[in-house]
Amino acid sequence: MSQSDWRTYKPVLIPPVDNLHEIEVYRKQGGYEALKSVLTDKKRWADPKSVVDEVKAANIRGRGGAGFNAGLKWSFMPPADGGPRYLACNGDESEPGTFKDRKIFEYNPHLFIEGAVIAAYAMEITTIYVYIRGEYRPFIEMMRKAVQDAYKNGMLGKNILKSNFSVDMVVASGAGAYICGEETSMLESIEGKRGYPRVKPPFPAQKGLWGRPTTINNIETLSCVPLVIRNGADWFSSIGAKNHPGPLLYGISGHVNRPGVYELPSGVPVLELIEEVAGGMRNGKKLKAIIPGGSSTPILRADQLDGVTMDSDSLRTAGSMLGTSGMVVMDEDTDIVEVLWRISHFYHHESCGQCTPCRDGTGWLEKILLKIRNGDGETRDLDLLLDVTTQMEGRTICALADAAAWPVRYTITRFRDEFEARCKKSVHALV
């Protein structure tokens, strides 16, 4: 299927099937067949490694934001030594503009569970943790119910589908901290500790949960796994954009007529997404800018969007990133200063506070932006903002500082006029 064929695409992650969240319905749709094949079809799947290889070949790029090849990540797990090994599934979903994993919890939880169990088999995992953000109370309950049903149907627990393979799944929840979506911080949180990201190395594959080998994947990433097993790596990698293939959940929000989560192949042109999928701009307004993949990805002006498609290569060329493919659409009336201040407020609020540049930099950024927003800024403050971002980037334990710095850097450079218009002219520079 090529990129322009998105119009004829049939959803596979969240297909329009009534009551698909019920395990019976899911099984009737061919659910858990991929797991069964992996566990019992020794001709097709000689050993766990053959599953890893297939997933690697499919090139499922991590849907949590960083876009790392899932199968490759799995292959970093050291050989099993008889001790516990963990899979931690990241459903923290807290980056503003991102609201896709909840659709899986709500409409197709068993697809995810099946994917996680296959991943567990492939990596010889003994326990799976599903970490869901605390604010997702209803979805946490839904997942708990789905997990119970999976246990009852022999898809989790001892001797799954009468094979030798056993694995447990535990649903854990956070208390509402964005930082607990950072993978090592999530591990700390699961261990019952404060959500401080860990210093790497050691990497989780070496020392993860309770010091044991652990792999972390996003919910959507794992939900792609049964599809790969069922239809093959070639099928998967032929969907959508070449270097970032597969079905993708686009969360579209902002000034469009039909905001929502849409499942389409990766690589849909941005403008088509807005116009055709999301029903065009609200009230016939003109498009001003988009933030393509969650609030940390650099903003793009409408005039930068010609021919840009939603995949990592195209967005990088355009000067941004795919991130979580949660796209925020802004119309001509949008106050860019207000937008940036609000984003900075978020990162200031969510910095865990371990690293000096992030702890004190995020607050500084927000406070200067607040000053500008309130009409008390000076043009020299804009240069100071850029300086502060330079002082934060690449100097911290996790990527939150970068995530806080990028929007400031790119919003100011791409909308400098609007910022200057809100500032008084500085008489002298700050040194």
Partner: protein, 578 residues
């Protein structure tokens, strides 16, 4: 096989094993600024102050040889980001650039300091840490000239009483987590954690819990700013007004190495002094609270009992009385009592006096409270020198035996040990004898004295103590008595004001000088009145004597102790010395 090599600022150094970069740099005597790192705890790499530029030489995949550029130099692949040196493991061939040779590193270190200072209250003029503050020092050295932070600072709780001994000013906290890690990794009380997020972070205890860790004050020492302060010491003195004198903790048998901080002949605080084999960087809170012992409740000027009341007596009278008593009393009725709370030198002087007067060897009763030790820096032994008494050859007796001996004696000469206070003796045992008590502080025992003679403490003399692990270590005089003079005594430390101040700047009052003498001084003078030549001048000279007379102390002198951080004495030689 050649040694592994690392290049730091263009210079080649060799290394073995897998050292951490920052520690390696510090061990070389070089410097990289840091806050959160502490050599005895795990490195969280959270302050981001110790950043350096790190690269590794490129090797040819096939030959394994280093790739060379046109000029024959190794091709270096630099890490894309600056690295925190505290948690970087050195690898063979690694190339490092610190602030000494790289502008970006300088820049990054300055940037981090600018961030730290952004929300710091900058109240150095009223902060206890000023003068010994890593943040202050490193800001002067590596920080920005001024601040570009023109917006409102974060406000956090001030004066939080974390526990009985530690007060927190959360605004000064730079969130290095040293205090939290201390309670997790060193004292293992797990009493502290960080609460809140981002720039609102600060350390506290769990709700309703008190930071009553018996080692809590160590967090005050390692806090790199003035966030954690000693509730007792807060606002008492500026660091630069005090003199810092090395000493030994005499409140238990562990012999933690400490510093006494004095001003105007008062000990104002006690802090641990690093000793890798004794106490590392730590000490128990109990040992710090002992500073009061040196200042308060001191026996000053001799006293004699007249009709059940102690009245002041002259030094001459005190000497005369002791000499008379020793002369008059039958040798077999004289009991000399040594003390595990007194130094080796004092107990030795007591032995000499006993020997020369023909009395029996002094006895002593160890001061042990079973179960009060914790396997860390608190020992069951409550006294600093029981082992020293044993090695000297004093007779170790049980409380029961001590009671019998005391009941039978007619003259008792007792060295600094509160035998009545700690339950070895009670009034019924004391009736028969004339009590000569040498003591530094008023206690239940000094009340029993017929003749009470004030002697110096570990803060006033140089003397040695043998700890529970048989290590002999010594103190230095830190405060003057009525009869000593700091400026003449080469042993006493100098403070900033001694060096740079005027004579009016400090140490001006006589009030805090105690009217007391070292025990050996008094013993020598008392001996003279009896025609005996003890010839005990000071700790140093006494230790030289001990070393020649007692094989257990062979090779021990103040010089060797100072050079080696104390000396572990062989226990076996005990038998030989007897």
């Amino acid at each position: 096989m050649t040694m592994s090599e690392v290049f730091i600022d263009g210079k080649r150094y060799e290394f073995e094993g897998q050292p951490q970069l920052l520690q390696f740099i510090l061990d070389l005597g070089l410097e990289v600024p840091f806050f959160c790192y502490h050599p005895s705890m795990t490195a969280p790499a959270n302050c981001r102050q110790c950043m350096v530029k790190v690269g590794s030489p490129v090797k040819d995949r096939e030959t394994g040889e280093y790739e060379l550029d046109d000029e024959g130099n190794r091709v270096i692949r630099w890490f894309p980001k600056l690295q925190t040196s505290c948690n970087t493991v050195i690898a063979d061939g690694m190339v490092v650039q610190t602030q000494e040779s790289d502008e970006l590193v300088q820049r990054a270190q300055k940037d981090t300091l600018e961030f730290i200072l952004a929300n710091h209250p900058l109240d150095c003029p009223i902060c206890d840490q000023a003068g010994e503050c890593p943040l202050q020092i490193q800001t002067y050295k590596y920080g920005p000239e001024g601040s570009r932070f023109e917006v409102k600072k974060v406000h956090k709780p001030k004066h939080v009483q974390l526990g009985p001994r530690v007060t927190l000013d959360a605004e000064r906290c730079i969130n290095c987590t040293r205090c939290v890690r201390f309670t997790d990794e060193i004292s293992k009380s797990h009493q502290l954690t960080i609460v809140e997020r981002g720039d609102k972070n600060y350390p506290v205890t769990a709700p309703g819990r008190s930071f009553d860790d018996p080692y809590s004050l160590n967090t005050v020492d390692i806090c790199p700013v003035g966030a954690l302060t000693s509730t007792d010491f807060r606002f008492k003195a500026r660091v630069w007004e005090m003199n810092q004198t090395p000493s030994i903790d005499i409140t238990n048998g562990k012999g933690c190495n400490i510093d006494l901080w004095t001003r105007d002949n008062l000990v104002l605080r006690i802090t641990p002094r690093f000793h890798p084999e004794v106490n590392d960087y730590w000490m128990p809170d109990a040992g710090r609270e002992a500073y009061q012992l040196f200042n308060e409740n001191r026996v000053s000027h001799p006293a004699q009992k007249l009709e059940s009341e102690q009245v002041s007596a002259s030094w001459n009278h005190a000497l005369e009385t002791l000499a008379e008593q020793l002369e008059q009393t039958d040798r077999k009725d004289v009991l000399f009592i040594g003390s595990p709370h007194a130094s080796v030198e004092e107990n030795f002087a007591l032995m000499q006096l006993a020997n020369l007067t023909g009395a029996k060897t002094p006895v002593f009763t160890p001061h042990v409270e079973e179960g009060s030790g914790d396997g860390f820096l608190l020992s069951d032994d409550q006294a600093p020198n029981a082992e020293g008494c044993r090695l000297l050859g004093l007779e170790e007796v049980s409380p029961k035996q001590m009671q019998t001996k005391v009941s039978e004696a007619r003259l008792i000469v007792a060295l600094n040990d509160n035998l009545f206070g700690r339950g070895v003796l009670d009034a019924t045992h004391a009736k028969n004898a004339f009590w000569v008590v040498f003591a530094s502080n008023h206690t239940e025992t000094t009340q029993m004295a017929d003749l009470l003679i004030p002697i110096t403490t570990a803060a006033e003399h140089a003397a040695s103590y043998v700890n529970v692990d048989s290590r002999i270590q010594r103190t230095f005089p830190a405060k003057e008595t009525k009869y000593s003079n700091r400026r003449l005594s080469m042993e006493m430390s100098e403070g900033r004001l001694d060096r740079f101040g005027t004579s009016f700047d400090n140490w001006v009052t006589e009030d805090h000088k105690i009217d007391c003498v070292p025990f050996w001084d008094f013993a020598t003078q008392a001996g003279e009145r009896l025609g005996l030549n003890l010839h005990l001048i000071d700790g140093r000279q006494i230790m030289d004597q001990i070393a020649t007379m007692n094989p257990a102390f062979e090779g021990v002198s103040y010089v060797t102790m100072d050079e080696q951080g104390g000396i572990v004495l062989a226990k076996e030689s005990m038998a030989k010395s007897k």
